[in-house]
């Protein structure tokens, strides 16, 4: 099979579109993070996000978050049509600031968690999850 000049150009454009696309998707996630943190800096430690490296079924992906001393933890799926997943607010009777749940992931992407600490600082953790079958049924 021979590529004409036109084919080659089209392929090139397609490749460019593919590399640009993920950034557009995560713009919504960045907005969600900004509205949660108010633009504050985020530390890399203090929050543990546990998610599988490979999830066969994107409909139920077990994730857990743990951030000692946090008042709330927000979980985001950066590659979903709407990135918000859940926000956990911990009350005075929470023994540990941790929670586990099962989430839907539309495809292979980064899962991000942001914890708001009692002293007003923020911590961030992220984990890449490979998804074999997407879970949003478009």
């Amino acid at each position: 099979m021979e590529f004409s000049r036109r084919d080659t150009l089209a392929l090139g454009l397609g490749a460019v579109a593919l590399t640009v696309l993920p950034f557009q998707v995560s713009a919504a996630a960045d907005d969600a993070i900004a509205s949660f943190t108010g633009g504050a800096d985020m530390a890399d430690t203090g929050l543990t996000l546990t998610a599988p490296e490979i999830a066969e079924n994107g409909n139920t992906v077990p994730v857990s978050v743990d951030a000692p001393g946090a008042v709330s933890i927000m979980v985001l799926a950066t590659g979903n049509p709407t990135p918000d997943v859940a926000t956990f607010n911990f009350g005075p009777l929470a023994a540990e600031q941790s929670a586990s749940t099962r989430i839907r992931l539309a495809g292979t992407q980064d899962v991000v968690a942001i914890a708001k600490m009692a002293d007003g600082t923020f911590a961030r953790a992220s984990q890449a999850v490979k998804v074999t079958i997407g879970g949003c049924g478009g």
Binding site: N59, A86, F88, F90, A95, T101, L105, G137
Partner: protein, 109 residues
């Protein structure tokens, strides 16, 4: 759509005062995300549990905001302190305005 919604929670029957216990909750709910389409290509409207709260003797343990990205039959596990004997109250809020609740008593011993 609120048919077949059944909340289930797992709480130990007894605990030592001040002990941290693990609580597991599950509610059967289809959590329609609002992204799916039916055979005719029409969007199926969103219908999810959007909030889940737990209180112990009126004091908050956890208050979670849930979005459509939570799986069908939302499962949530967390840790709680039991300062005295009392009752956990679990509440789920549905998009259609329904509220499902469940309570579990716990004794000190």
């Amino acid at each position: 759509m609120a048919s077949g919604v059944k909340p289930r929670v797992k709480v130990p029957k007894t605990a030592a005062a001040g002990e941290a216990i693990t609580i597991k909750t599950l509610i059967s709910h289809k959590m329609e995300s609002g992204q799916r389409k039916d055979k005719e290509g029409n969007k199926i409207p969103r219908s999810i549990i959007n909030r889940f709260t737990v209180e112990f003797n009126g004091e908050s343990v956890i208050d979670a905001t849930l979005e459509p990205a939570i799986s069908t039959n939302p499962y949530i596990q967390f840790e709680a302190i039991v300062p005295e004997a009392g009752e956990f109250k679990f509440t789920w809020y549905d998009d259609d305005g329904d509220v499902y609740d469940q309570s579990k008593k716990i004794a000190i011993g």
